[in-house]
Symmetry: C2
Subunit: 338 residues, 2 copies
Amino acid sequence: MQQKTSVTIRDVAQAAGCSVATASRVLNKSGPASAEVRERVERAARDLDFSFSSIGRALQSRRSMTIGCLVPSLANPVFAEAVQGVQSELKDSGYQLLISCSNYDETADNAAIETLMSKDADGLIATMVAPDRSAALRQAQQRGTPVSLMFHDPIEGFTTAYVDNFEAAREVARQFVRLGHRRIGFLALRFSTSDRSRNRYAGFCAECRARGLPDPVLIEIGEAEASRPDSLAAILNDHPTLTAIFASNDFLAIAVHKAARLLGRRVPQDLSVAGFDGIEIGRLLEAPLATIETSPEAMGRQAARSLLEAMQGQVPIQPPALPFHFRAGATLAAPNPE
Amino acid sequence: MQQKTSVTIRDVAQAAGCSVATASRVLNKSGPASAEVRERVERAARDLDFSFSSIGRALQSRRSMTIGCLVPSLANPVFAEAVQGVQSELKDSGYQLLISCSNYDETADNAAIETLMSKDADGLIATMVAPDRSAALRQAQQRGTPVSLMFHDPIEGFTTAYVDNFEAAREVARQFVRLGHRRIGFLALRFSTSDRSRNRYAGFCAECRARGLPDPVLIEIGEAEASRPDSLAAILNDHPTLTAIFASNDFLAIAVHKAARLLGRRVPQDLSVAGFDGIEIGRLLEAPLATIETSPEAMGRQAARSLLEAMQGQVPIQPPALPFHFRAGATLAAPNPE
DNA sequence: TTGTAGGCGTTATCAG
DNA sequence: CTGATAACGCCTACAA
């Protein structure tokens, strides 16, 4: 039952009555072989149901044909979609995807990179808490392993697939200001471990300032509050004068809407809300969510493409930021004149 | 710059002035060694920043310490969460996760299994279009590779982590009937490639029948209709007499709600809607979605646990179905008496 | 306690 | 055109 010993190229050679070298040449079409022996080898391989051991190959070729991918979490659809993008782009490249999640923990981040490297990944695609100060990442790169980032703004020495969070947030600010909002909040989850969130806030502030407004209030919350509407409502209640809130992602924006409802505040009449990411459900809501539309899947694809190029020895060039798009929605309107 | 040649155990041995055998024994704590030489080896390893080549190890131990995971798509949060569950459960097991997506294609399914096997995965976790008739899967198993399924109902020969779709759907039917619905529809996406969907429909029908109702109308749609509310509305329009619809997943249920709105039909007064999965956003909606709550993450965890057990040589035992829970919501009410 | 040697599956080199 | 043979990095009898 248990075919414990798998069939190796040696078995094929033996069955075909030739040397392993010849069998290898035939099977790989990597060298000359008489039609006759070729035939014998191919048949033997078929009969024995032979397939190469990628481990044996890896050992001798020093390439594992494996790519390591690190993301904070697959429970976040944004990252899941990005990985899906990576996956599709790698589909026919012969590379397999090794994945790892850090749960937004910087230590786990570094450990994961090291593990991936110890598995001899030929390349790395990562989204981390702090790629710029990750020793493990630098080290991987210095060892000659190509690295490609996702979601992060460009960092010296790495190529990255990203959308310009700063600019996108400015666009949101523009929309808010245009409608007449002046008391504005920015709601952030995991502000300290997400450069995306920080860049969005920075851009948001920059544009507000440019329009002569004070910096928007930064409201940081934790996992707990994010998933508990009543907690979120309590927090919202601490900022009763705000007329508009920019949430650092769509899920949060929807949660804010829910919390507002709990407080009896109507969206958008009493409170405007905008999100970030452009998840599809947003447009199916009773009040379609105003948001910044992005394509995580495209990010994954681009990261994979950059990595493949680098692995082919091409000198890495940083592609431009991926496009984003402000999607209007019913959660955003002019503030209620009191 | 390019540390092309990585440091091997041979280098360590040399630096420590001993044989590789001794170095191996020390580094693996797998045999005797004098305190002195142990010290030298450990220091050398540290100085040289040595780490084992998992490929070398895999070749000699015939274990890759890698687990292959196949899911239809990571763009579906249900599967993404399941993989996240697998991932967390594997965290400290020393195994790495190799992932692959089939995009709901049966051919790709088999190809993926073969690829995963050719990568010498030590175990397989899969959700497929048709695991019961997958030659590749059987073959993997016959080769002695432990296999664990996710989301599928138990199949002879495999252990699976699942929720009882049939029973869960019966529960939904019960709720519908209890409220007085008699003209009921089941909306399915990818009915032909999803045994989950089919089992849900079967259970749904069974319970309706048991209550003396005719089989619910089966409404099959494609990707296109699912993501286009107006198309979905058109389809809904073809079934004007239905008073309640059970959608095969939450996303679809939310889409139905949207489509109903487009048609000027109020939910739940004119049309009741229930979903399946229990995604978190469902409870944040203006009309919280009635649904069957499940935990994909738990499914992933359980599949991983079963697999680990099997890989430790334990005889596989099929764990019981994971629990589900009917979550009441505002999308479900008694039908409007005309 | 330590070292030598063989082998895991593959490919590349180099003679025949 | 073909076949030894030597790596690749590691582990483990078996000897010393």
